[in-house]
């Protein structure tokens, strides 16, 4: 899948290429922010700085996709999850290297989906 990297997302994707999960933090209210944007969605100020996430989090929900479309069709079945990072933001991701249940601890692992290197998560042993 082609990803249309833009001026707001470039730092995130550069981080992925460097093996880091980069998110933002608001200097005014302290909220972590993901996905990247020009204003804090909590206090609406523009003092956002980039930080490197710890890569640790917890499964908020997940699903196993038995059917998928287009270039993902041959990858099914695969597990997609919503992971709450310890920094306090939620992201959509894939689970690799095992199965999970809601509430499980997971940690960052980069993996490939439809040709793109993506931040994914594996179960914590």
């Amino acid at each position: 899948m082609e990803i249309a990297v833009d001026t707001e997302s470039r730092e995130f994707w550069d981080g992925v290429a460097a093996g880091e999960l980069r998110i933002q933090r608001c200097e005014a209210c302290g909220h972590a922010v993901f996905y990247p944007r020009a204003l804090c969605p909590s206090c609406h100020c523009d003092r956002l700085v980039w930080i490197v996430a710890s890569g640790r989090g917890e499964v908020y929900s997940y699903t196993v996709a038995h059917r998928a479309f287009g270039e993902f069709a041959t990858e099914a079945p695969f597990t997609v999850a919503l992971v709450d990072l310890d920094e306090g933001v939620r992201m959509l991701t894939r689970i690799v290297g095992g199965t999970v249940a809601i509430g499980d601890r997971v940690e960052l692992e980069f993996a490939t989906a439809a040709g793109n290197q993506l931040p994914c998560f594996r179960p914590v042993a």
Binding site: F12, Y60, V64, R67, G70, R90, I102, A113
Partner: protein, 379 residues
């Protein structure tokens, strides 16, 4: 007191698979039929409302096609709930004296086109979700379903009751796409699409169009059909992408529902018939709870044993719903069409809800992203 607005005409175009129609001819045929029901013509239409992704500006493209130049245009697109929002916007315009007659139309040829999920780059906020390949929208609803089951212990069997009742209603509707009865076991035995959602937990993919005509009350004496009065409306959004939904078990219905009911001055026990967007079985359970018909975690019990089916004490989705009647991409207009017909008493036998005087219509759009609620009363 501002003048009231009422629905005075409704119609579908051909439904199911319609290779002989375009999205424009669907909307035209439905509009002709809805206006004819009202005894009105295109010259009476001074507000046009539509939603879709088939033009850079669906409202002006449709106006041109229909040969009209309305003075009020609304192309609000908040997904499948757009049309309940259009009703709210049309009522506001009528109350303000901006327009007298509003035409709301929708069409889709998605089944014939096989248009979903065509390859295109992931742009803006999509780039953080789409590259993971979650099939949409079903995958997002599956995430909500798993979280809901985790929090409340609700089971797939309980969710399946929604599909079974929808099919029982569809059996009474000659226009429904699927009419053969199904059981809870049939739902659980159908193909697993995205855990925990099976194929029969998912809405249909059909073609189809519809139209709804509203008129100001000073026009009602000229109208052929019995008006159905819009008593209240509300709309909201909670998120766009599923990762941004604050709580996967609470939808915007928790705001748009009370707003509509307060405006109408009615409460939950007043409704005779309820039409709730059933994109997936989970959508209905979450919506019933968010609207306040039952407490969190109790919707599975609420829909048990045919309570929402024909002859049940809580008649819901009385045309067979998006699960069994039709679902051309954005289903919300069909909720309005069915509620209007029930309140007019158009049907006979078990297809007609007895003494239907007050209806709640609730649309959900995107991935539980937007909601809009309308309260309708017999005129």
């Amino acid at each position: 007191m501002s003048r009231r607005a009422g629905i005075v005409g409704v119609a579908e175009s051909d439904l199911g698979k319609t290779p002989h129609l375009t999205v424009l001819s669907q909307q035209a045929t439905a509009s002709v039929a809805a206006l004819a029901e009202a005894g009105l013509g295109f010259a009476d239409v001074d507000g046009l409302f539509t939603a879709g992704g088939w033009s850079w500006s669906p409202a002006i493209a449709l106006a041109e096609y229909l040969g009209i130049q309305p003075k009020h245009l609304d192309g609000t697109n908040i997904g499948g709930s757009s049309f309940e929002a259009h009703v709210g916007h049309a009522v506001a315009a009528i109350e303000a004296g901006l327009i007298d007659v509003a035409l709301i139309a929708y069409g889709s040829t998605q089944r014939t086109d096989r248009s979903r999920n065509q390859p295109r780059p992931a742009t803006l906020a999509e780039q953080y979700e789409r590259p993971y390949g979650l099939p949409t929208p079903v995958g997002a609803y599956a995430l909500a379903a798993n979280r809901y089951m985790y929090e409340h212990g609700v089971t797939s069997e309980q969710m399946a009751e929604v599909a079974v009742s929808a099919r029982d209603w569809a059996a009474l509707n000659p226009k429904a796409y699927y009419r053969d009865p199904i059981t809870v076991d049939d739902v659980l035995a159908s193909e697993m699409i995205c855990e925990p959602l099976h194929k029969l937990d998912c809405c249909l993919v059909t073609d189809g169009g519809g139209a709804v005509v509203l008129a100001a009350e000073d026009r009602w004496p000229d109208v052929a059909a019995r008006p159905v009065v819009v008593l209240g409306h509300g709309e909201t959004t909670t998120h766009n992408g599923i990762a941004q939904m604050p709580d996967l078990t609470v939808t915007g219905a928790a705001r748009s529902g009370p707003a509509a009911m307060t405006m109408a001055g009615v409460s939950h026990t007043d409704f005779d018939v309820v039409e709730i967007y059933d994109s997936f079985t989970i959508t209905v359970l979450l919506t019933l709870e968010s609207l306040g018909f039952c407490k969190p975690g109790e919707a599975g019990d609420f829909v048990r044993a045919g309570r929402t089916g024909p002859g049940g004490e809580f008649p819901m989705n009385t045309n067979g719903g998006g699960l069994s009647y039709t679902h051309p991409g954005m289903y919300g207009i069909f909720l309005l069409i069915e509620a209007t017909r029930q309140l007019r008493g158009d049907f006979a036998g078990a297809r007609q809800v007895t003494d239907a005087e007050l209806a709640l219509v609730h649309g959900t759009g995107g991935v539980l992203s937007s909601t809009s609620t309308v309260v309708l009363g017999r005129g």
